[in-house]
Symmetry: C3
């Protein structure tokens, strides 16, 4: 390989890093848009800290756990030491044909935090901040890299006769986040007022524009999530992945739109948005193996699945404010299975391998998260008080409002001449 090609490959991977990074902004805006304004600072706080926590823990040990190389690596666990230690030639093509050691770390590190971000939305509006932060550190720092090593680090799932296949992480990233979210929801319970007297009460988010911005940014980010997972700038492979990713997203939008129009008799934008994400999650496991028709079918099915799953989870009283389970867990499983149905080695053997992967990753992630949430529950507690939940987490955990002018209108007035009016009002100024 020419040295020039190495430079190009590395540029492509760096662009992919930027795109995966903006997914954190996408999640932050999507999740805060789908929550109420009284809990918005809380979500943004969590989602701002998660990439920070993810990168630092990944630098300290996560990268060494996920890609241990030959050091202490078994089929299920490996570790090549604390810290980021650049190997010989790590800044040249001696390390890798596609990118430098630093690029490798940063691309994988940006991925790592995604799993916790998915959980953030699902447990929103009632989880205790400090407990969530501890959960994030351990989930991103331990659970994610261990599971990731099983496939991408050369572990057990990669060594099956017909290897488990997960191109960019329908299972390894999205379903891991989904399982962590499910465990959290079960132990947390539903939000006050969600399921009352056997009825499901919708609790709309506070800003559809924020949620829409989030989904567009996530689609954008997915170009790096999937496109970067080719691990080089190979023109045919990468551009094909981008097309299949886009077609699945588009088909997901159409699937979500049509099914929700039929079922609910209204044009529900949240189902279009979740449909796009569903298509994206669905194509992620096999974006490099699918054709045009495959991708459209995978997206359409994912878009429909997400609508049905939202209804189902509500029936089961599993309260997921942002639909994270429907998108990331359900469509993560669907996408992984789709590799067995439409992929290069489609057939019974591949399907069995996919089921083994889905099952093992699911069992470990769910168990890890459940035990972790449970320990936190009996020690620190994981749910805010009823009063805090009703008032909103922002004012208690953060002592501020997301929109002070609106949330605490008395405050702005107090700066005007009309101070007397404010003195008589019941609203108190709030400090940021």
């Amino acid at each position: 390989m020419s040295q020039d090609l190495f430079v190009v490959n590395n540029v492509w991977m760096m662009v992919s890093i930027f795109l995966v990074f903006v997914m954190h902004l996408g999640f932050a805006t999507l999740e805060s848009g789908l929550a109420r304004s009284k809990n918005t600072v809380n979500i943004l706080f969590k989602n701002s800290m998660i990439p920070a926590i993810g990168l630092i823990t990944y630098a300290l040990w996560g990268f060494s756990v996920m890609y241990p190389g030959s050091d202490f690596a078994g089929s299920f666990f490996g570790f090549s030491g604390f810290g980021l230690n650049m190997p010989e030639g790590g800044e040249t093509s001696a390390y890798n044909e596609g990118y430098t050691f630093w690029t490798d770390f940063l691309f994988q590190g940006m991925f790592a935090a995604t799993a916790a971000t998915i959980v953030s939305g699902a447990v929103a509006e009632r989880v205790k901040l400090t407990s969530f932060m501890v959960f994030s550190v351990l989930f991103v720092g331990i659970c994610y890299p261990i599971v990731g090593m099983w496939k991408w680090g050369g572990g057990y799932l990669n060594e099956l006769t017909v290897p488990f296949y997960d191109f960019a992480g329908s299972t390894i990233v999205h379903s891991v986040g989904g399982w962590g979210a499910l465990a959290g929801i079960i132990l947390l319970g539903s939000r006050i007022g969600k399921y009352v007297d056997g009825k499901i009460k919708p609790i709309p988010g506070h800003s559809i524009p924020l949620a829409t911005i989030g989904v567009f940014i996530l689609w954008l980010g997915w170009f790096g999530f999937n496109g970067g997972s080719v691990l080089s700038a190979d023109p045919g492979a990468v551009s094909r992945v981008l097309v299949m990713t886009s077609l699945a997203a588009a088909a997901g939008a159409i699937g979500g739109c049509f099914l929700s129009m039929i079922l609910f008799k209204s044009a529900d934008i949240t189902m279009v948005l979740n449909g796009i994400l569903a298509g994206l999650v669905g194509i992620t496991a096999g974006a490099d193996q699918m054709g045009v028709t495959d991708s459209i079918v995978i997206g359409l099915v994912a878009g429909a699945l997400v609508v049905l799953a939202v209804v189902l989870f509500d029936k089961l009283k599993i309260d997921d404010p942002v639909g994270a389970l429907s998108v990331h867990l359900v469509c993560g499983i669907w996408g992984t299975l789709a590799v067995g149905l439409f992929g290069a080695l489609a057939g019974v053997d591949q399907i069995i391998s996919q089921l083994i992967g889905i099952g093992m990753v699911g069992a470990f992630s769910f168990a890890f998260a459940f035990v972790l949430w449970y320990v936190l529950k009996v020690t620190m507690g994981i749910r805010v008080s009823e009063k805090e939940e009703l008032d909103g987490l922002d004012i208690h955990e953060h002592k501020m409002h997301a929109y002070p002018d609106i949330n605490a209108p008395g405050f702005e007035m107090s700066l005007n001449e009309k101070e007397t009016t404010v003195a008589a009002g019941s609203k108190k100024p709030v400090a940021v």
Copy 2:
């Protein structure tokens, strides 16, 4: 050409794809920001579905209509068959020096949906959702690729003695959208309350931050729209295009700012924002042929034109909530003419060719859109009822609010202890 260069070119085109993609987010935020909050979900819904519709129709037949190659291609219409069929060598430089077949499709597909997005803003706040969706499918799926083929697919306008020149689509993309918008506005009529007793009543949008975000994102996207239209990463050509694009945008801001300050005696941010877009649309037809002074002049004129056009359209009672006609139609024409004035072959012959292109594209696009809107009007209807318009499209077409906490404040309260207050209130909870 070296294989390495092909890889670089393809990376550049993929980056351009991402940039053109984010233009859809730019349009979504710009248009929703410039509409009222009661119609915001509606706009976001349309603008989320448009890229999905655009990509799928382009994959099914649009790409084959716009770039038919030698198959059934005449000067005005061609078609190389349904579906996306990768030709021999489509993943290598055998297909194209600059990019793969997949890259080609995706770049052009991202362009395609733009035309309908422009229409979306112009007909906002009173168009019927289903009718608009049908319009979008047919306009993006049929009108756009036919017109595009005339120039970019090697058709009639490309075969003139002095060929019609439109580098990245001032006419082929922006004015096409503009003509479709004009036809829609004429058949729809103005919004209730806009022109009353001979007076023009301003109807401000609901969020200047959203609109501003949209314009910045559109400027960003234009780097790919124009920069990608070089169709390779040729350093001199692409970087020159980026500079001219930026200078025109900057000059457009200054032109819009100064003229509106003189005319309206206030610093109207919407005129700065529209000035930026005007400069961008204006430079698009000749971004590869202009010098520094040309670009600044084109931008300044475009920025001034957009201010005058907004005033003029209002005088003519042509109600365009977001100024789409002033930006995309007026400045699309200006930019196309500017190639005849300042371009490489500036002179009478080029001007005549530009006028032929403007006229033919305009006549076809307007006629196509007018007939389509008319047929929809007499069959499905294209305008919502008076009650729906006054209440807002969100609550009727989508059964939800863009900002539920604010738009329907009773709802959040019902989740608090103060349920009795809510029971007595007149506002009803609203489900998302």
Copy 3:
């Protein structure tokens, strides 16, 4: 160097241009989010005009002042003539190994406007629009390129025995903006209601989501700000810079979070956000020289510094609505010093050179800005009237609201049937 490598390098630099460009969107959303809604249009107006002004003045003369080459260049001032004049071979690698003349201009031009953007936030909510615009033209057009030339144009600071080192502009860009901001704040005074009867009254911004979006976009943009400052796509150097930049940002978030939790007993998201920016500004001077531990330490210290600085400036009654001084000035100085502590040539000599650079740049920038603000104060005036400040700048300077539906709720109602209600209301419709 191969021609292909030149093409790759140029692609990388163009990507960096896009990233630095989006920083202007980041500043616009951050600063408007941290101001009150009644001053939001004003901030967005300024921040939309700044990149336009920056690019045009940089094209007209700024680029020639900052990079004068051998023309009229002394150690402190040079000028190679008005306008953008492409030298021989400016579109090929004859000009530069890394990029074309056009790329060079655009990358540096995007940087230039940053300095004024930093000032914009610090003087927000009381500065007169026209005076600020004049300040911006002169500060970006004269002060910034002169100072920049001292180091990056080959001037005095670059000629020291141990050259002053500032990789991507902790001092040259960020502290310049900070000094300009400090001069402005001193001459403007604090906002009404900020320091009353010896007490510091918090004035919260109006939208935490906007501010958060801004910080994520700024982090994204910093990949280009620092990554592009390598001036080629050199894989080892660039990817290392990206990693160190990210680790410092992450550590800054953690530093800001922990210290503010300890000091204020609450999870203050603005301190996390400012912590991220602090880490980014801190690493900017030496991002190419630092190791993993260095970067984390620099970020942690920067995150802590920003918290302390916010408290300190408030104690000193220096009213900086967005914390620009704490982020850009304080951490700009910290980052520049850190090169002397942890950099390649760490030691007393380097520290002395860093202090010389900090001091000279600070003295010149502060003096330039102070004189300029002072002249504006005694001629045009730099502060709006008390009434304008209390009512908000939007309604006076711009005759519009940022959120018309909310800020002037009577308006929307006037378009409905309920006109009588409005007639009785005290709120007046407002035109955009």
